[in-house]
């Protein structure tokens, strides 16, 4: 099979009690690219993510990741295979400090996660790397703050840091810049470009600015099905896309 693609789906489909949220989606994500999934609200973007990360089981179709069929794999399995997602609504551990959040994400690789007799101190080796990641997203100042008290935008940034800690081969980002102020958006955009050098990113994003700036390839979904695909220039030129999604923007 084609190794240029890290992720491919064939005729992927999902119905919710008769309602078809995703319909015959055949997606090919090239290694080392930033691939965007855009489309009107309710087009099925998040659902596609949910299918890829096993939140839902697909009604139809197959998925292949890194040469392996993952149509029936388990959520945790997928994650360990290096395909990690960030959520549309911020997903952090509110009652832990920012540092601990990242450390939990790093910890799994130590392989001591079941060791209840070992001291916490054995995790200190991870702190350095954790701080590094926090710095990347500009949260190093908040390392010791309890996350519950951070504003929404910072929680999103932190979430990306924890995702990065997984050293994912493929990052699924659902609206990474949602709820962020300008300067945060700028930082995150830069960050994504940074991390994308060594890996592949598949993102859902409504901020066309970000999409235009980052993405090599864009798939437009509408009513669950693929409307068109191509570079930003191509896609944004497409009248159907303008009509269905972009409007006068872009």
């Amino acid at each position: 099979m084609n190794d240029a693609h890290i992720l491919t789906t064939e005729g992927l489909g999902k119905d919710f009690l008769g309602f078809t949220a995703v319909d015959d989606v055949t997606l090919k994500v090239r290694r080392g690219t930033i691939h965007a999934l855009i489309g009107p609200n309710g087009a099925g973007k998040t659902t596609v993510f949910n299918l890829l990360t096993k939140v839902h089981q697909p009604s139809r179709g197959t998925m292949t990741y890194d040469g392996r069929d993952i149509t029936r794999a388990k959520p945790a399995q997928i994650a360990r295979m290096g395909m990690v997602r960030s959520f549309q609504i911020s997903a952090v551990f509110p009652h832990m400090t920012a540092l601990e959040n990242v450390r939990v994400s790093l910890q799994r690789k130590l392989g001591t996660s079941f060791h209840f007799w070992r001291s916490e101190a054995s995790l200190r080796v991870l702190d350095e790397r954790a701080m590094e990641l926090l710095r990347m997203v500009g949260l190093d100042r908040y390392a010791t703050t309890e996350v519950a008290e951070m504003a929404y935008g910072r929680k999103r940034a932190l979430e990306i840091a924890t995702t990065l800690a997984q050293e994912p081969k493929l990052m699924l980002m659902d609206e990474p810049t949602q709820g962020m102020g300008r300067e945060d958006v700028a930082r995150i955009t830069a960050l994504i470009r940074e991390v994308a050098k060594s890996r592949t990113v598949l993102m859902v994003e409504h901020n066309l600015g970000v999409v235009a700036e980052l993405c090599d390839r864009i798939t437009v979904l509408q009513r669950g099905a693929i409307l068109t695909e191509g570079s930003y220039a191509e896609v944004s030129a497409d009248p159907r896309v303008r009509e269905a999604y972009m409007g006068s923007a872009a």
């Binding site: 919710f16 009690l17 309602f19 489309g39 009107p40 609200n41 309710g42 087009a43 973007k45 998040t46 659902t47 549309q88 609504i89 008290e149 951070m150 504003a151 929404y152 935008g153 910072r154 609206e175 949602q178 709820g179 962020m180 102020g181 300008r182 300067e183 945060d184 700028a186 409504h206 066309l208 269905a244 999604y245 972009m246 409007g247 006068s248 923007a249 872009a250």
Partner: protein, 251 residues
């Protein structure tokens, strides 16, 4: 008849020329448990105005809105809505002054269908939108009306959160990041809606990240930083005060 006019009669037929302070906030402090989120906010919004609260993440914009509708346990200072002091009132009493709130986290009810969600908020004044009107504005909702509220997509939930307060006839709208996660087409439509509402004499406070969206129609911008109102910028002086935006929003 617009809710605004009806209201004018309520408070002693004040004549239209005189500008009535719909929202008047003085030295407002708000706390989340131990942490002190608002450090003395002062702001006045007149009837029929559309103002924005701008600022970095964590500046305290959402908290300001929450404080106005009474969702924050500990708050001090003064909040006058339509001339009435509400700092000590319970949330439900405040809402009945004609206040509609669209929360940042959307707050769609999972155990209610989309339609039930839409019909949930009690009508607090005349002149609310008809359900048909709303469905026409947000076709997705009409399509999914029977399914449980939280089964909606992120954006659809956002639409629902906005739509349900348009029904209640509230003429003071507090909207927290309503364009968040919405497709550009929808955002444009929302802009139109706000335009209409403004024309109808609604008073609107908008918390926004999307400056382009906000700048277009706002009469005034309150720029918040660390729980204060750092600057107030009139629509007229946007260019003049561009540096302010640079400073606080890096726009």
């Amino acid at each position: 008849m617009s809710a605004a006019q009806g209201h004018a009669r309520e408070i002693g037929g004040a004549d239209a020329a005189e500008r009535i302070a719909e929202i008047h906030i003085a030295d407002l402090h708000a706390y989340y448990g131990e942490s002190h989120a608002l450090h003395g906010i002062d702001m006045t919004v007149h009837r029929g105005e559309l103002v924005t609260l701008l600022g970095r993440n964590g500046a305290g914009r959402s908290t300001t809105l929450r404080a106005i509708v009474g969702l924050i346990g500990r708050r001090t200072g003064s909040i006058r809505l339509k001339g009435e002091e509400v700092i000590a009132r319970p949330p439900h009493a405040i809402a009945h002054l004609g206040v509609g709130y669209c929360p940042e986290e959307r707050g769609i009810f999972a155990s209610l269908s989309v339609e039930e969600n839409l019909m949930l908020p009690p009508v607090v004044a005349g002149g609310g939108m008809a359900v048909a009107e709303i469905y026409e504005m947000f076709p997705n909702l009409a399509e999914r009306r029977r399914s449980p509220g939280t089964r909606l997509s992120g954006g659809e939930q956002q639409m629902l959160a906005m739509a349900r307060i348009l029904r209640t006839g509230a003429d003071v709208l507090l909207l927290d990041e309503i364009t968040e996660g919405l497709a550009p087409v929808i955002v444009e439509k929302l802009a139109e809606v706000l335009g209409v509402l403004k024309a109808r004499g609604y008073t609107i406070v908008l918390v926004e990240q999307n400056f382009r969206f906000a700048a277009a129609m706002a009469d005034r911008h309150f720029i918040m930083d660390h729980g204060h109102v750092a600057e107030v910028v009139e629509a007229a002086e946007l260019e003049a005060k561009a540096h302010v935006f640079e400073e606080y929003l890096s726009v």
